[in-house]
């Protein structure tokens, strides 16, 4: 409105009003300021519309989207519970053996240097276990969608930690080709982890029938569009996706897995779209499929990222 007063340009804004009875109304206003011959403003001509209903519908959609993403995370976590238990079990295992070894060393007549080494490792392993729990908490949190400046490479590292043991059990080798010094993107770290985790789990499933040495997946990061977008790809060596199904796989309830719900990729696409990004797939020339994810650098300001615009 101020700009409009100064320059005479059109104004357009959406704002909230609190009515005397406490009700909240959303108003969309649009118009322009009229000036007299001396250049002084004389009147505003325009329209104000009550858009409360539309706003409420938008918020509902955003909330449902958040809940859907959460539900999908909880489901994925259930499938990964063995892997996560293992991630906790390893540090706990080391803590117990170190503590029991220290007790024996002390009983034998203490070698303090050795005991100190064991205690140091108990402390660092305990921290490691706490980190696993911390990650789980974040993952399971059903809160507001966050909007952080973050590094896509960090997302890759976090996801690989989460799924490490599962990859070992499925005998899948992961090669990463992460471009250094990528510009940060803005988004929800947990939701982006969720997308990548889904892609990695899918890639592993796609390669379940391959011979062990063939079970390799490659995660690459880089930039495109002259550095204005960050791109990440997940390449598997599975049997690929039939050409006519390449778009269908992103639709809700489409699945090729016996026990899948068919929600993974559709939730992924919803999340990425809300981050103003793109998610697509192409079959590789030799074998398997590559999923690409491209996100604008710096300011992403999607709906799911922030419900207030």
């Amino acid at each position: 409105m101020e700009t409009s007063l100064r320059t005479g340009a059109e104004y357009e804004s959406e704002y909230r009003l609190v009515l005397p009875d406490g009700q909240l109304r959303w108003i969309a206003a649009r118009g322009h300021v009229e000036f007299n011959g001396d250049g002084n403003p004389v009147r505003i001509r325009g329209a104000s519309v009550d858009i409360t209903k539309r706003k409420q519908a938008e918020e509902l959609v955003a909330r449902q989207r958040t809940e859907m993403a959460h539900l999908s995370r909880v489901t994925t976590l259930g499938e990964l519970s063995g892997s996560i238990a293992h991630e906790l079990n390893q540090p706990l295992s080391a803590i117990l053996s170190n503590a029991q070894a220290a007790r024996r060393v002390l009983a034998n007549g203490a070698d303090l240097a050795e005991v100190r080494e064991m205690l140091d490792e108990i402390v660092s392993e305990d921290k490691r276990a706490s980190e696993v729990i911390q990650r789980l908490r974040q993952w399971l949190k059903k809160g507001e969608v966050q909007q952080h400046s973050l590094q896509i490479n960090k997302v890759v590292e976090d996801v690989l930690k989460l799924i490490r043991n599962d990859l070992i059990n499925q005998k899948v080798t992961v090669d990463t080709e992460l471009a250094p010094d990528l510009p940060p993107i803005i988004g929800d770290p947990v939701q982006l982890q969720q997308v990548l985790l889904n892609l990695v789990v899918n890639a592993c499933d796609a390669m379940a029938a391959c011979n062990t040495p063939e079970r390799r997946l490659v995660i690459r990061t880089g930039t495109e569009n002259g550095g204005s977008r960050v791109i990440m790809s997940v390449t598997d060596r599975g049997s690929g996706v039939p050409g006519e199904k390449m778009e269908q796989i992103f639709e809700p309830f489409f699945t090729t897995k016996a026990k899948g719900m068919g929600l993974g990729l559709s939730v992924c696409r919803t999340i990425i779209t809300a981050h103003l990004g793109k998610l697509w797939a192409t079959n590789n020339t030799d074998c398997g499929t590559t999923f690409y994810l491209s996100l604008p650098i710096g300011a992403s300001n999607g709906e799911a990222v922030s419900s207030e615009r």
């Binding site: 238990a85 079990n89 540090p91 706990l92 080391a94 053996s97 070894a101 490792e121 070992i168």
Partner: protein, 211 residues
């Protein structure tokens, strides 16, 4: 790391998770065992030779070669190292497979010190028994080589349960000579009865013939 091939026995700890590998090795050390840690099955195999004396504490889930695969490779190479498996998850199918292929024990992480140490003691006892068995066999085989061809023929007939008269008939010599050979066989084999002679030769029996 170089590993000993004889005494004292070494407990080889193979686990890709460094802190577990170190802490288990420290625990074994504190309990008086000599331990050596390896970060992968491949790293262990690079050091492996058939004369390694001790036992193996082996993580089940590892990248590249896992515990069960290492067990197979060692079995094929004729390894006598008893294996104690350690696993994060109580996977019954894998446990069954490991035991079927001769695992000495199967423990879940986190493992209590007493349980692990007891399993190591049992495994080493098994290894000692195997070594004793080998020593005994070598000794018996050495005695067998001192027999003359004729004595060897008599031995085969005696352990087959034949009487001196039958043996004499079979070999076409007089019974008195058989008695003479027989006494020599008992003396050379250091056997005090026919039953003992049978036991000794049975231990050397491979694929039906005494070797």
């Amino acid at each position: 790391m170089t590993v000993s091939t004889s005494f004292p026995p070494t407990v080889f700890v193979v686990d890709d998770y460094a802190a577990v590998r170190r802490s288990i090795s420290r625990l074994l050390g504190a309990a008086g065992f000599t331990a050596a840690g390896f970060a992968s099955a491949g790293e262990f195999l690079a050091q492996y030779d058939a004369h390694l004396f001790g036992c193996l504490v082996l993580d089940l889930a590892m990248p590249a070669l896992d515990g069960l695969e290492l067990q197979q490779i060692l079995a094929k190479s004729g390894s006598l190292l008893p294996i104690i498996f350690l696993t994060g998850e109580g996977d019954i199918a894998k446990c069954a497979q490991a035991m079927k292929h001769g695992a000495s024990d199967f423990l879940t992480k986190p493992v209590n010190d007493e349980d692990l140490l007891a399993a190591v003691r049992v495994a080493l006892k098994k290894r000692y028994a195997l070594r004793q068995e080998q020593v005994d066999l070598a000794e018996i085989r050495a005695r067998l080589t001192t027999l003359t061809p004729r004595e060897r023929e008599v031995l085969d007939c005696v352990v087959a349960g034949k009487l001196n008269k039958q043996i004499a008939g079979d070999l076409g010599i007089v019974e008195q000579t058989i008695k003479f050979h027989r006494t020599n066989v008992m003396k050379k084999m250091n056997a005090h009865s026919v039953a003992e002679l049978v036991r000794l030769t049975e231990r050397c029996r491979i694929n039906g013939s005494v070797q």
